[in-house]
């Protein structure tokens, strides 16, 4: 399989991940969990943001760093209720990803559906791979 060495790195969360992991369990995931996929034309970032409203998410691209931040607001629990289990984390989140391709900032699109934030970042013409013809 083709292996890339210039993987995008998340800059934030590393220290926090370690602190959280040691406190709770060895495999506590970064929050929110993200997948980063790439094809010839675009980079697709998918983040799991269950229960987060679209107006509570902010996406910023600054140079080559994409930052996703937001807030998951707590839901209302009626009075006289007893909470038996509370695993869903309600807090602010922020993650940054360094992109290794130039993307067309004007054509970035993002949507939230079924608790998934999907950001599509089209590559600029110049950064798309192309075959070179041998004359």
């Amino acid at each position: 399989m083709f292996v890339r060495f210039n993987m995008p790195e998340t800059i934030d969360n590393i220290l926090e991940d370690f602190a959280f992991r040691n406190a709770k369990s060895s495999y506590a995931p970064a929050y929110p969990a993200i997948d980063i996929a790439e094809n010839e034309k675009q980079i697709v970032v998918t983040a799991e943001v269950p229960g987060v409203k679209k107006e509570d998410v902010k996406i910023v691209l600054e140079k080559s760093v994409l930052t996703i931040s937001g807030e998951r607001k707590p839901y209302e629990v009626p009075e006289n209720s007893r909470v038996w289990l509370n695993e869903m984390r309600v807090r602010n989140f922020q993650r940054s990803i360094e992109l290794d391709h130039d993307v067309d900032a004007d054509k970035i699109s993002a949507e939230i559906k079924d608790g998934l934030l999907r950001i599509v970042l089209p590559k600029t013409e110049a950064s798309q791979a192309r075959a070179i013809e041998v004359k």
Partner: protein, 154 residues
């Protein structure tokens, strides 16, 4: 190549006698005891969706984080006060041809069971999936609702 969840501590935990070595070996022992022999990546990828459970006067509510799960892939059963939620999170089909730089999301099947402390009206259970969160409302049976006892003066 199999899709494997990215885990920054994998190298640390993989040390045979490192910082986490003993814990790791213990986990493996338990894992292999309960699961039978499966490869390592399967045991690392096993997951349980986060759940909130609250009890109200007249009902229980169970919320489960299931981002990107098709609601038709979720099965909810209640059998003598044991609520079981099982399902599967599948990879989106349209991304299969792409190169993945990073996979942190966990895919595969899950199952969680909870024992409810009181009986519920099994025919009145309601489940809704909204914005990646499954919410199940289980109304308590009449005899399980709190009753206020009036003190009478004689």
């Amino acid at each position: 190549m199999a899709l494997v969840r990215w885990n920054p501590t994998r190298e640390l935990t993989a040390w045979p006698s490192g910082l986490f070595g003993l814990q790791r070996e213990m986990n493996n022992m338990f894992d292999s005891f309960f699961r039978g022999s499966q490869d390592e990546d399967t045991s690392l990828s096993a997951w349980a969706p986060a759940v909130d459970i609250a009890e109200h006067d007249d009902a229980y509510t169970v919320k489960m984080e299931l981002p990107g799960v098709n609601k038709d892939e979720v099965k909810i059963t209640l059998e003598s006060n044991i609520l079981t939620i099982r399902g599967e999170k599948k990879h989106e089909k349209d991304t299969k041809k792409e190169n993945y730089h990073r996979i942190e999301r966990i895919y595969g099947s899950f199952e969680r069971s909870f024992t409810l402390p009181t009986t519920v009206k099994s025919d009145k259970i309601d489940a809704a999936y909204n914005n990646g969160v499954l919410q199940i409302t289980l109304p308590k049976a009449e005899e399980a609702k709190p009753k206020q006892i009036e003190v009478k003066a004689k």
